[in-house]
Symmetry: C2
Subunit: 295 residues, 2 copies
């Protein structure tokens, strides 16, 4: 992200090392399908956030990387399943055919299942090598954020056909869970690895919760403001699909204002963490990047 | 299974307590869909094997139950995804409409994802409460058996459209991974919780590997020998779908012989474990049950 291309390279290298260990003889075409999506680039915002947060506590990158990679695997599997015809039915992802378009639906389902499982295998291997409570807590935070209580819960609610009684509340709840949970978990798992104090965790929770929400509002804004080329996926789809998003519900101007307010609260979280003695330079640069991103 | 209805009741009670903790407000209809499949009964052979094995080492049932429940959640998610139209396209499971028939494809995909995730959340919670190496190892064994190296790998290979060069070898490899891996993991995770010696593990590996293989051969035999009513799913489907199974490849008589030989090797494993000083009575009763099962 932004400045540190080297960090991004190390993330890419960690991710691309995960699947070749499984031979085609063992896993067939779905392993190829999983590698296709996992190594398709992307912003890698979740692993970056986790690694940056852990680094604030002087945690070595090799210690944090399995958890960072796990987060990205979970994110990737969710995109593969989200794009399926029975879900969002998207043909394009990151400028290329979506997984099921390239490998067929069955392989896409199994590739997603396999990536989700591999995320946990990877974290459990790290815990097995060094069974300390910080690693166990980091994995637990990620697990809860990925499941029915978090991301999957958000996706489930997003599917409900009935319009909710209170669309504003529903919108916030769904987005907080669907996108926010994993982004927040990236920061909180990094803090858990670092053995952060309760005060610092609270500050980072304020930061990451609002960063996650802002990230989603920006996504909704980009759906109407960006181009398909930049975004690597279809633009203007939310409106066409009559989807409840911050833009379709509030309108573009109000969503912009909402984005600014949310980013402001995220900044407050960072400031509190700084007051507690943390060097938040790197997290602040992620904040800036998010403010400016146009894809 | 067979004698101990009380054990089965305790398993059912553990499983049915897992999902109501997640409100509909949090997880929508996919949580209902997950509960529909998780509490649909079934033989519960995997959790039974795990609990019985752990009990041989005097491990309390409350210690082993989270891992037993996790195994059954993983098994259940795999059935939900397997039944999807893009996969085996099955309308019936355990005598009721399959998950996507009852809840729609999108909810079935998410219900499966959520159950897989909940399996790991459950094991991680147990590890977090008691961070000992035995629990970590049990979770690692289950994780590896469920992923690309195990069950998912087997499902992937099963999807390959080309006929393999060596169908006999492919058949064994696919079934060993697709069904065998989780059944074997049930026994080995129970042994890991019990801190079994290498000798005992080897004996139990011989038992469980062959029990898993025998279980699959029996499944293939039941597809031609049982009735839809008993089986709770369509009968004679393998032949119709031109599927490579022990029966379609070897014929019924040879598959029967193969089943007996495999069960014999499983018995040898048990005998070795008994020689090492274990009371294998309960595992032997599971062996007997499998020999006689007609559904």
């Amino acid at each position: 992200m932004t400045a540190d291309h080297l960090l991004l390279e190390r993330i890419e290298s960690a991710l691309s090392g995960l699947l070749p260990a499984i031979s085609k003889m063992e896993g067939g075409r779905a392993v190829e399908a999983a590698a296709y999506s996992l190594t398709a680039g992307g912003k890698r915002i979740r692993p970056t956030l986790l690694l940056r947060t852990a680094a604030m506590f002087d945690i070595e990158e090799t210690v944090a990387m399995p958890f960072a990679a796990a987060l990205e695997m979970i994110h990737t599997y969710s995109l593969i399943h989200d794009d399926l015809p029975a879900m969002d039915d998207d043909d394009t992802r990151r400028g290329r055919p979506s997984n099921h378009k390239a490998f067929g639906e069955a392989n896409a389902i199994l590739a997603g299942d396999g990536l989700l499982n591999l995320a946990y295998e990877t974290m459990l291997a790290a815990i097995r090598d060094n069974p300390d409570e910080k690693r166990i807590e980091a994995a637990s935070i990620i697990g809860r954020a990925a499941g029915f209580h978090g991301m999957i819960g958000g996706q489930c609610l997003d599917l409900e056909e009935e319009r909710p009684h209170d669309p504003e509340q529903a919108l916030r709840l769904i987005q907080q869970k669907k996108t926010g949970a994993l982004i927040s978990a990236a920061v909180l798992a990094g803090a858990a690895l670092g053995g952060a104090s309760d005060d610092v965790r609270e500050a980072l929770l304020l930061f990451s919760d609002n960063l996650g929400l802002a990230f989603q509002i920006k996504d909704d804004l980009l759906d109407v403001q960006s181009t398909s080329k930049k975004l690597g996926k279809t633009v203007g789809k939310d409106q066409r699909d009559d989807k409840l998003t911050f833009v379709t519900w509030y309108g573009e101007a109000k969503a912009e204002r909402f984005f600014s307010e949310t980013m402001q609260r995220a900044k407050e979280g960072l400031e509190r963490a700084a007051k507690a003695g943390l060097d938040v330079t790197d997290l602040a640069s992620i904040w800036h990047y998010l403010e400016q991103r146009d894809y």
